[in-house]
Each structure stands twice: as structure tokens, then as C-alpha cells.
């Protein structure tokens, strides 16, 4: 883990309310793997107070930068939107455990929704580079919230899109696309990140098709480095009991988990 002062190189809106920031961060760029995140202090003062966790969306170790993609949601994301080019911010990373790669030759399906898309982009590019067959399925509310093909270049052989309102691609849930994909290709490795309900549905469908499923989870974080024990998720014990130890910290024990380990709470 590195405590690095990063500099904003670009910071622009790339889809409705979605911003892409490129940060000069040579050390983090040299280490980060898909599924890991950074914890960024978006301002100098005490409001917003805490850092903001953001998945690494891409890295360029040679040029020494990382990309993060974020959706304007509240005070912290708004503060970041407003930061001008050249601004320096304190950044901790890379944090957490990355996705693990499947056995050679396994076809992969990546499912991203909302702010869960960034780690899928990073993972897709890596898997493609290593010769895997990758399908990327993206769900969003409407066409305006979808990233352009250009931004997704090199992430997958096939890109499927779903929207709630039918304004782009499949009208309905991204899990419908997943089901089709698993049916038609027999892929056995599913990766997903996005809203809780979506992730859970993806895990269900994967189980149904007997595909391994790795999920990247999110929870409100105070520290991002395991010292506050705030960002927990309940996990299943081998025997299903729930006593101490059943909560794992998403920041250091995740954010990537095997879907079967998670105890989905409602």
C-alpha cells in the first residue's frame, strides 16, 4: 500500500453524471491490479471529512497514471468533479484484494452496473491481454448513462448493454443478458460489480449455471485499510453458523469475494 500524492491530469464528464479522472500516480500505477481500489482525499479541509474509495479503472505503468471513473452522487464526488487539472490530492492505494484469473482457456463474463463498471473495464483489458475470451455486460438506467464504445475499447470481445427504459440495447435487466451469455457460451467464470441487488442476482444466475462467480462489494468505508472495522459484510461459515468472524472487512478481506462466501442480507 502506498501513500502517494497524485496530480489530476484530466477530469471530464464521459456519460451522464459519470466522470473520468486520470491521475498521475506512478507508484500506484505500477502495482494496482483489477479489483483493487484507491482511497482518495478529494479536498484539503474537514468537509467532506473522510476519503473516497474508488476502484481503479485502468492503469498505465509506463506513463505513470491511473484512471478512475466516478458518478456524481454527493459531497465527495461533487468535490472531485470541481477539482481542476493540476490539483494534487492524497491517495492511498492500491487497496484490497484483486480478482483472481480463471484457468487458462476459460471463457469469462464480466457484469457491471452503475459505479460497478470501472473495475470491470480494468479486468476486461487484463483478461483480453492474457488471451481470454471476454464478454462484458453492462446495465444502466438509460442510454445516457452508458459509456461509449470508445471508452470500453479493448475490454471485451463482445459488449452487451441493457437499460431500464430500453433506450439502448436490451430493455430490462443485465442478468437477462447474463443468462443468454451463459446459455450460449457455457462460460464458467463470472465477475461482477455494481448495486447490491444486481450482484446478488448475478451470483444466483451464476450458481444456476454452475459458473464460478467473483463479486466486488462496496460498503461505506471510514479508513479503507482495515483499522476501523466499519465496512463489513456477513460471510457464511462452512457450517452456516454466525458467530464472531462471520463479518469480514470489505476493504482488506475483499473487496473481491467468492460469491458463495457472501451471506446476502436484505
Amino acid at each position: 500500500m502506498i501513500d502517494e500524492t497524485v496530480r489530476i491530469l484530466t477530469n471530464r464528464e464521459v456519460a451522464e453524471d459519470f466522470y473520468l479522472a486520470r491521475l498521475a500516480a506512478p507508484h500506484i500505477a505500477g502495482e494496482a491490479l483489477p479489483g483493487q481500489f484507491v482511497n482518495l482525499k478529494v479536498n484539503a479541509g474537514v468537509t467532506p471529512f473522510l476519503r473516497m474509495p474508488l476502484s481503479v479503472c485502468d492503469v498505465n505503468p509506463d506513463a505513470g497514471y491511473i484512471d478512475v471513473l466516478y458518478q456524481e452522487a454527493g459531497p465527495k464526488t461533487q468535490a472531485l468533479c470541481k477539482q481542476p487539472i493540476g490539483e494534487e490530492l492524497s491517495c492511498l492505494g492500491p487497496l484490497g484484494h484483486p480478482f483472481t484469473h480463471p484457468d487458462k482457456g476459460t471463457d469469462c463474463v464480466l457484469v457491471g452496473g452503475g459505479i460497478g463498471v470501472p473495475p470491470m473495464i480494468f479486468l476486461g483489458r487484463r483478461l483480453m491481454r492474457e488471451g481470454f475470451d471476454v464478454a462484458l455486460l453492462i446495465g444502466a438506467r438509460s442510454a445516457a448513462k452508458h459509456l461509449s464504445d470508445e471508452l470500453l475499447e479493448g475490454t471485451a470481445l463482445r459488449i452487451g448493454r441493457a437499460t431500464d427504459d430500453g433506450s439502448l440495447g436490451h430493455c430490462g435487466l443485465v442478468t437477462d443478458l447474463l443468462r443468454q451469455e451463459l446459455e450460449s457460451t457455457g462460460s464458467k467464470a463470472v465477475y461482477t460489480c455494481g448495486p447490491h441487488a444486481m450482484i446478488e442476482a448475478v451470483a444466483d444466475v451464476s450458481r444456476e449455471f454452475d459458473a464460478a462467480c467473483q463479486v466486488s462489494l462496496e460498503e461505506y468505508m471510514a479508513c479503507g485499510i482495515g483499522i476501523c472495522v466499519g465496512c463489513v459484510v456477513r460471510v457464511e461459515n462452512a457450517d452456516g453458523k454466525t458467530e464472531y468472524g462471520d463479518y469480514k472487512r470489505i476493504c482488506v478481506d475483499g473487496p473481491v469475494f467468492d460469491a458463495r462466501e457472501i451471506c446476502w442480507e436484505h
Binding site: 501513500d3 471529512f49 461505506y220 485499510i225 466499519g230 463479518y247
Partner: protein
């Protein structure tokens, strides 16, 4: 004794509190540095006066259901609920690492009953190398137990007395700010044999999601910490400093060396850095450096000269 800085002008930051020899008056607060392991790779713990472990209870505790954290203006609420592996696991699996650190380790304990407190203290009395026990009678995030003790002078005295009787380690009572008269509780703890007091724990607070009209925290209420509460903590240190003779350890919202100096000037002999470490894991070490600079600028020889130096 720790190595002094080269320059002959550098202020001596070492201080003895309740029999603990601290390299400098800055510790990390309970619940904000876990059991030291995670911070090890990102900050130099040996630069600190010490660290206080996350509260240990007799049995393992799973803690409260998430969401456990929410940000508030200049602060945050937490409702961790004392998640911890329990006393035996602590001694077996956490203590060896802690013991290996070149800094003072204060072990923070909490129980549901006076007996539980005393039993834990007795068990830990066998453990060599503990700098002190910090007795958490003030956690706002557990329904029964802890919280209620610090609300009453007599209950506080009973717990501290029971712990005092069974341990040779120095005993620090950690007080709650959620009381009418903290000086009264402080005096009761002092009389019951506390060697030092640490204050404050978090203020009870709450946040609501107006979209869904639900509490944001799984446990409904939580503990407020961070810069927002610094003025409250400082007023309490100042008040308690007038009321007792034992040393005080001040905490609540300390983020910078200037914050720390405010607490020393108000009457604290040492400080703890809590929430600030979440934002800057190196905060404790930077505060040590800043206090040193401040001391040098003031031209004082020893940090003790600052303690309680407020001119009113």
C-alpha cells in the same frame, strides 16, 4: 529512554503517566488502530508514545450489523459495536505482534458486569509487557454493559475499584462525554484507584436517510467522533483538570499538532489520535513532529511545561 534529537534545542517530549514511560505524549486511540497490524506497513509505530488496542471483551463479539459508518459535518458516526475476537484470542493471536512493537501498548477492555471487567483484568495481569489497562466504561454502541457504568459515579467507581484490586498494571478509566457532570465521574474513578483518565469517548449521534426515512446506521444511533467534537472534548478536559489530581489523556477530534497542544494546554498530560488516522494513517507521527516543532518554537525544554498552562 529514547534517543534525543541531535539539536540541543529540541524539546524533550518524554513523559511518564501513571507509571507508563512514554516516548512522547501521542497515542493512537482505541478502535482506530485495531491491533496495530494494518498500520504497521504505512506508518512508523515506534515514533509514537503508544497505541491503545481496540476494546477486548471476554467473549468474541460479532459487532453490529452494517451500515456501521456515516460521515457527518466535520466528523463521522460509527456503530461498530465492539466487534472483537474476545480475550483469549487476543492474548493468543494479537498480543505477540503487539508485544513485538517498539512502543507502549495499552490494552482496552470492556465487560457487561463488574465481574467480567475484573476477570479480564485478572487474566491480563499475567500478560507481561502491557503498559496499562484502559477500562472502557463508555462505549455508546452496546446496549447493555459498558455504557451504563460511565453514566454513574458509583458504578464507575465499582468497576474501576474491581479492576484496580486484581491488576498490577496501571489502570486508565475511559470516560463518556454523554453525562451531566463528567467531573463527578472523574472524581469517583480517581477515588476508586484509577491511575489516569482518558476522555472523551464518542458522543451519541444519529443520521437519517430522508429518501427512505430510515436511520443510516444499522444500529440506529452511533458514536460521533472527529473535528466536530473537539470543542466538547476540550471543555471536558479543562473541567476535569480542575477536579482531579491524576493525569488526563485527552482525545476527541485531534487531527493536527495544534489540536494536540490545545489539549495539553487545557490540562491533558497526553493525547490520543482517533478518527484522524482514518483520513491520514500517518497522523499520529505527524502530530508528534508538530508538537516537537511547537515546543521548539516556544523555547520550552520539556513537554511537561505545556501541561495545564492555560492562562485564564
Amino acid at each position: 529512554m529514547h534517543a534525543k534529537f541531535a539539536g540541543s534545542t529540541s524539546v524533550d517530549l518524554s513523559i511518564e503517566i501513571a507509571g507508563m514511560a512514554l516516548r512522547n505524549p501521542v497515542l493512537l486511540a482505541s478502535g482506530t488502530c485495531n491491533y496495530g497490524q494494518e498500520l504497521q506497513s504505512i506508518t512508523d509505530l515506534s515514533q509514537l508514545g503508544g497505541i491503545v488496542t481496540k476494546t477486548i471483551t471476554p467473549q468474541p463479539r460479532a459487532g453490529n450489523r452494517p451500515q456501521r459508518i456515516v460521515e457527518t459535518p466535520a466528523g463521522m458516526l460509527n456503530s461498530i459495536g465492539l466487534q472483537n475476537p474476545g480475550l483469549e484470542d487476543f492474548v493468543e493471536n494479537k498480543w505477540p505482534f503487539l508485544e513485538s512493537l517498539d512502543t507502549q501498548i495499552v490494552v482496552n477492555i470492556a465487560g457487561h458486569t463488574i465481574e467480567e471487567f475484573a476477570d479480564m483484568a485478572a487474566r491480563l495481569d499475567d500478560v507481561q509487557g502491557i503498559a496499562a489497562l484502559e477500562v472502557n466504561i463508555s462505549c455508546p454502541n452496546v446496549k447493555a454493559g459498558g455504557a451504563n457504568f460511565a453514566n454513574s459515579p458509583s458504578a464507575s467507581a465499582e468497576v474501576i475499584g474491581a479492576v484496580r484490586r486484581v491488576t498490577q498494571h496501571p489502570v486508565i478509566a475511559k470516560l463518556s462525554p454523554n453525562v451531566t457532570d463528567i467531573a463527578e465521574i472523574a472524581r469517583a474513578a480517581e477515588e476508586a484507584g484509577a491511575d489516569a483518565l482518558s476522555l472523551i469517548n464518542t458522543l451519541v449521534g444519529m443520521a437519517i436517510d430522508v429518501k427512505n426515512r430510515r436511520p443510516l446506521l444499522g444500529n440506529i444511533t452511533g458514536g460521533l467522533s472527529g473535528p466536530a467534537i473537539k470543542p466538547v472534548a476540550l471543555a471536558m478536559i479543562w473541567k476535569v483538570a480542575q477536579a482531579v489530581r491524576i493525569p488526563l489523556i485527552g482525545l476527541g477530534g485531534i487531527c493536527t499538532a495544534q489540536d494536540a497542544v490545545e489539549f495539553l494546554v487545557a490540562g491533558a498530560s497526553a493525547v490520543q489520535v482517533g478518527t484522524a488516522s482514518f483520513v491520514n494513517p500517518n497522523a499520529g507521527v505527524e502530530i508528534v513532529e508538530g508538537i516537537r516543532r511547537y515546543g521548539d518554537e516556544c523555547g520550552i525544554q520539556h513537554i511537561g511545561q505545556l501541561i495545564g498552562s492555560l492562562q485564564t
